[in-house]
C-alpha cells in the first residue's frame, strides 16, 4: 500500500511551512534542524517496529501532517513536540491498518505461488558472491580494529553463556549492561560501514 495515499491531496509542503515547523521545534535554527533529523530517525524506527513498511514513507507522511498543522496555526505544545509527532504517527498507523486490512481481503483471491526461475537462480548466485565478498571484507575490517576493540566485540558475541560473559564484562568495565550493549552496537555499525565500503570497492 502506498504511504502517500494517506496524504491530503490538496496540500504540499512549502518552505514557509517547513520553516514554521523548525521554529516550533526550537528557536535556534541549527538546533531545530538537529531535532528534526532526530525525530525523523525515531519515526522511521517507530514505523518499522510497528510493521508499517516502507517505514521512511510513513515517517515522511507523519512529518508532512505535523508541518501542515503547524502551518495552519493549530495549537500544539511547544514543550513536548515529540508527543505531537507520536499522536500523529498513531493516526497514520490506524489509517495504515484500516487500508491494509481492506487490501488483504481484496488480495486473498489473487495469491500466486512463486516458482524457481532462471532469473531467481542468477539472483541467488549473485547473493552468494556478495555474501562471500562481505565475509572477506568483514574479516579485514575486524583485523583493522584496535586490538582492545576487537577483543571486546569478539568476547561480547562469543562464549557459551553470553549472559554471564556480558555480566562479567559489565562488572569489569564498571558500566551497566545497556551501556555495554550500546558500545557493542557502535562497534558493529562502524564495522558494517567499513564492510560496505570494502564491498563497494570490490564492485560486487
Amino acid at each position: 500500500m502506498e504511504a502517500k495515499s494517506l496524504l491530503k491531496k490538496d496540500w504540499t509542503p512549502t518552505p514557509e511551512a517547513f520553516d514554521k515547523m523548525l521554529s516550533w521545534l526550537d528557536a535556534d535554527r541549527e538546533k531545530a534542524g538537529e531535532e528534526y533529523e532526530k525525530i525523523r530517525q525515531k519515526l522511521i524506527k517507530l514505523f518499522k517496529w510497528r510493521n508499517c513498511r516502507p517505514e521512511d514513507d510513513y515517517a515522511d507522511v507523519t512529518i508532512n501532517r505535523v508541518m501542515r498543522r503547524i502551518s495552519e496555526d493549530v495549537e500544539a505544545s511547544k514543550d513536548k513536540p515529540y508527543l505531537y509527532f507520536h499522536g500523529t504517527a498513531l493516526n497514520v498507523l490506524r489509517e495504515f491498518w484500516r487500508k491494509e486490512q481492506k487490501h488483504q481481503t481484496e488480495d486473498i483471491e489473487n495469491v500466486t505461488i512463486a516458482t524457481d526461475s532462471p532469473q531467481q537462480k542468477i539472483e541467488e548466485d549473485y547473493e552468494e558472491t556478495r555474501k562471500a565478498a562481505k565475509f572477506d571484507c568483514m574479516r579485514n575490517c575486524l583485523r583493522q580494529l584496535p586490538d582492545e576493540t576487537r577483543q571486546f566485540i569478539v568476547r561480547y558475541h562469543h562464549g557459551e553463556s553470553k549472559k554471564d560473559v556480558r555480566k562479567r564484562m559489565a562488572e569489569e568495565q564498571n558500566v551497566p549492561l545497556n551501556v555495554l550493549r550500546i558500545r557493542a552496537c557502535r562497534v558493529r555499525v562502524d564495522l558494517e560501514k567499513c564492510a560496505d565500503r570494502c564491498v563497494a570497492i570490490k564492485n560486487v
Binding site: A3, K4, S5, L7, K9, W11, T12, P13, T14, P15, A17, G33, Y36, E37, I39, K42, K45, L46, W49, N51, R53, D57, D60, N64, L83, F85, H86, K131, K134, F135, M138, R139, C141, L142, Q144, P146, R150, I153, V154, H157, H158, K162, K167, A170, N174, P176, L177, N178, R181, I182, A184, C185, R186, V187, R188, V189, D190, E192, K193, A195
Partner: protein, 329 residues
Amino acid sequence: MKLVTEKDEMMRRYLLDEISDEERNSIEEKFLADDEFFEELDALEDELYFDYKQGNLSATDKTAFEKKFLATNADRQKADFAEAFLQATTEITAEKTAPSFWQSIVVFFDFSNASMRLGTAAASILLLCLFGFWVFRNLNKPPEIATVPEVPETQTPTPTPIDERIIEQKQQEKDDLEKKLEEEKQKAEQDANKIRDLEKQKEKIQKDIEKNQNKQIAPEQPQRTFIALVLSPGLRGSGAAAKVKLTPELKTVNLTLPIKKEFQEDDFKIVVRSVGGGTILSSNAKSGKKTAVSVSVPAKSLQRGSYEIALISSADNEEFASYYFNVEK
C-alpha cells in the same frame, strides 16, 4: 551496579510484538523523548539479528522475528551482515585458541589420562632395558684396537724443502681466508644493522597505516550537524536561490522538494548536479503519489558554487522540475 534486565525484557517484548498496547505507547513516548533509551532499543534490535543467526531465539520469537525483521531487502542485508560478522569473529576466536607447537606436544602427552600414564611407563621400562642390554654387551666385548698400517721408514713424514714451501703456501692461504672471513663478518654485521633499521622503519610505517585505518573506522562523533531546506521549483536566476553555508562541522544537507500536482503520479529520478558541472548524486524515487520528496546530500561532495536538482521522469526521460541552491563557504 544496575543490570537493567527487566527493562531489557520489556524492550525485547516490544520489538517482538509481545506487549500490550498501553505498554507499547509508553515505550514509544519514552524513546521519542529520550535519545539514550532510543539508542538502547536500536542496539537491542540490532542484537536480535545476531541472536537469530546464532539460533538463540525461541521458536515463537524466531517466527515473530522473521515476520517483522526480515521483511525487506534491507532487513535481509542486515541479517547477512550479522552472519558475516559471526563467521569472521568465530574464525578469529579459533585462531586465538589454536594451540602452539609446544602446547600441541603437551596436549599429545596428556598425563592426566590414565592410559597415557600407563603407556608412558611401559615405554620408559622398554627404553631402560634396551640401554642396559647395550651397556652389558659393550662391557663383555674384547676391546677393539685400531689397526694402523705399518708405515715404511722411507715414508716418515720429515719435511722436505718442497713440503715447507707447500706449508708456507697453505699458511698464507689460511691467513687470507681468515682475513676474508673477518671482512665478511663485518659486512654481515653492517647488513644486519641495515636490516634492523629497515625493519624499524617498516614497523613505523605499518603503525601509521593501522592508525589511519583505525581512524577510518573510528566511531563517528556525535557532533553531526546538517542543514534542512525546502526548495521551490523554478528557473535558475528567477528568484533568490536558497543558500547553504559550508562549515567544517556540516555533514549533510537535507533538501525537501515539493512536487507540482500534475507530476505527482510519476516515477522519477532525482539528479543533483553543479550548474555547468558534474553530477553529485543520482537516485530513483519510489513510485506513487508524492507531494514532496527529500534528498540528503553529503556536505563533503559540495563546493562553493551553484547547484541544480532535476527531477527526471522515468517514463520519457524528460526533466519536469528543477530546483536551485547556492553553496557558500
